[in-house]
């Protein structure tokens, strides 16, 4: 056996995994080779010495750097239970050694528990009542299809719809198929003509009636108005004549009084008595 073969089997020998001829051969080489015996002794001693705490950190510092960043990138997934067993084990090993990351992991667990408690904020006792008051006054906006269905339903609920439908269906089905010179072929046109005639008759009747009514009523109104106006004019002329007559009498008496006053005060008394009598 050569030393290379011994090195390949030394781990198994240390773990007690070697058996049978392989174990015998390895132990035989160990007894004969002083180099391999020294290496084996050193490897056995490693298992009994305490781990150098700074060694791994020193190696990491010189190689990949601290694993804290890698751990933190997976910490949320670890807290949420989304990591597979292998990755979860790796993170847990780091957390077992790194107090900073372990503290952060505990804080994350707590955040995960506490955050949902912020999901609800009470808007106050009157909120629901206010919303209900606002929504009860408003009609709900219906989609176009539903609105069309409602309109159609209302249309169909009309009492005459059956007759109207039957009439339209008859026209649609039979009128185009009728020969042009058929006595029934001109039926729609005739119906339309009759309808127009009826409308014209009604219109003429209405207009004529209105004209007659105006002729009768208008004459009466005009006659009454003229009579009233002439009566007023006559009345006002009579009144004016009376006023003018009185005014003339008054000015005449004033003038005669002045003449008498110039003749003597005693002459005034009969005038006053006369005025009083008047």
């Amino acid at each position: 056996m050569i030393c290379d073969s011994f090195l390949e089997r030394v781990d198994a020998l240390l773990d007690g995994g070697l058996a049978g001829p392989e174990r015998e051969e390895t132990l035989g080489h160990l007894a004969l080779c002083p180099d391999c015996r020294g290496l084996f002794a050193a490897l056995v001693a490693v298992g009994h010495t305490s781990e150098d705490p700074g060694l791994a950190d020193a190696i990491l510092a010189r190689t990949s750097g601290a694993a804290c960043d890698s751990t933190r990138s997976q910490l949320c997934a670890r807290v949420d239970g989304e990591l597979d067993a292998f990755d979860a084990d790796l993170v847990d090993r780091h957390l077992g050694r790194c107090a900073e990351c372990a503290s952060l992991a505990r804080a994350l667990e707590r955040v995960r528990e506490d955050l949902p408690t912020l999901a609800a904020i009470d808007p106050g006792p009157r909120f629901v009542d206010e919303v209900l008051a606002r929504t009860s006054l408003r009609p709900r906006r219906m989609p176009l299809g539903a609105r069309l269905a409602t309109v159609l339903s209302r249309l169909l609920d009309r009492p005459r719809v059956a007759w109207e439908g039957a009439f339209v269906a008859t026209l649609v089905l039979f009128a185009p198929g009728l020969p042009p010179r058929s006595p029934l072929g001109d039926l729609p046109r005739q119906a339309l003509g009759q309808l127009r005639g009826t409308v014209n008759d009604v219109e003429a009747t209405l207009v004529g009636g209105a004209r007659d009514a105006w002729a009768t009523t208008g004459a009466v109104v005009v006659g009454d108005s003229v009579a009233m106006a002439s009566g007023l004019a006559e009345g006002s002329t009579d009144t004016w004549d009376k006023i003018r007559q009185r005014f003339g009498t008054f000015t005449g008496s004033v003038a005669s009084g002045q003449k008498r006053g110039e003749a003597g005060t005693s002459d005034r008394e009969p005038d006053a008595a006369q005025e009083k009598r008047r």
Partner: protein, 187 residues
């Protein structure tokens, strides 16, 4: 409660179902509008608008998303519209702990501890960048799926995931700075 069934009843005009829907989602919608708008009155106003819009468009929810994701997207869009109208984001104000529905029981000591935790957590969340806060709000706080957040924010899935992880790590680190004992008790 079966949301699909609730929605179907709402579509048929069931007022009771509509009330139940509003009561179920009011706090989540308000939490989102508070996050974006900060101002409580603005947030309440926009949250109401969101529900009114929802009421008018109940038929337009056709699946694809979960209802909550759809509703929160509507809330987010409404907030962005409001912010555009306001032209500028209002100054950041911490959400008061009194608003948070965190009380876990009648024990005053426990409530005090819960409130202290909530205060610390909100302070740390407020310190995050806007991008991180938004992802954190939708994914971690509101519990939307990664795909839903990606669709809502129109971002690639990988971006959302990495942003979410960075946000959580940043948050955890901030919390430990604010309170070195944070998380110490977790095994």
């Amino acid at each position: 409660m079966d949301v699909e069934k609730l929605l179907e009843r709402c579509r048929r005009g069931d007022g009771l179902a509509w009330e139940a829907l509003v009561r179920t989602y009011q706090s989540s919608v308000y939490a989102v509008t508070r996050y974006y708008l900060r101002d409580p009155e603005e947030a309440r106003d926009v949250a109401q608008d969101v529900f009114v819009r929802l009421y008018e468009r109940l038929d337009s929810f056709g699946g694809g998303d979960t209802f909550k994701a759809w509703l929160l997207r509507m809330a987010r869009n409404a907030c962005i519209d409001r912010l555009r109208r306001l032209k500028a984001r209002p100054p950041a104000a911490d959400i008061s702990v009194e608003d948070a529905r965190l009380s876990s029981g009648d024990d005053p000591e426990q409530n005090a501890e819960t409130e202290a935790r909530a205060r610390l957590l909100r302070r740390a969340v407020a310190d995050l960048s806007a991008r991180h806060r938004e992802v954190l709000l939708l994914k971690e706080i509101q519990g939307l799926k990664l795909e839903e957040v990606a669709k809502l924010l129109e971002l690639p899935l990988g971006t959302v995931k990495s942003r979410s992880n960075r946000a959580r790590l940043e948050l955890a680190a901030t919390l430990r700075k604010l309170d070195p004992s944070f998380g110490a008790g977790t095994p």
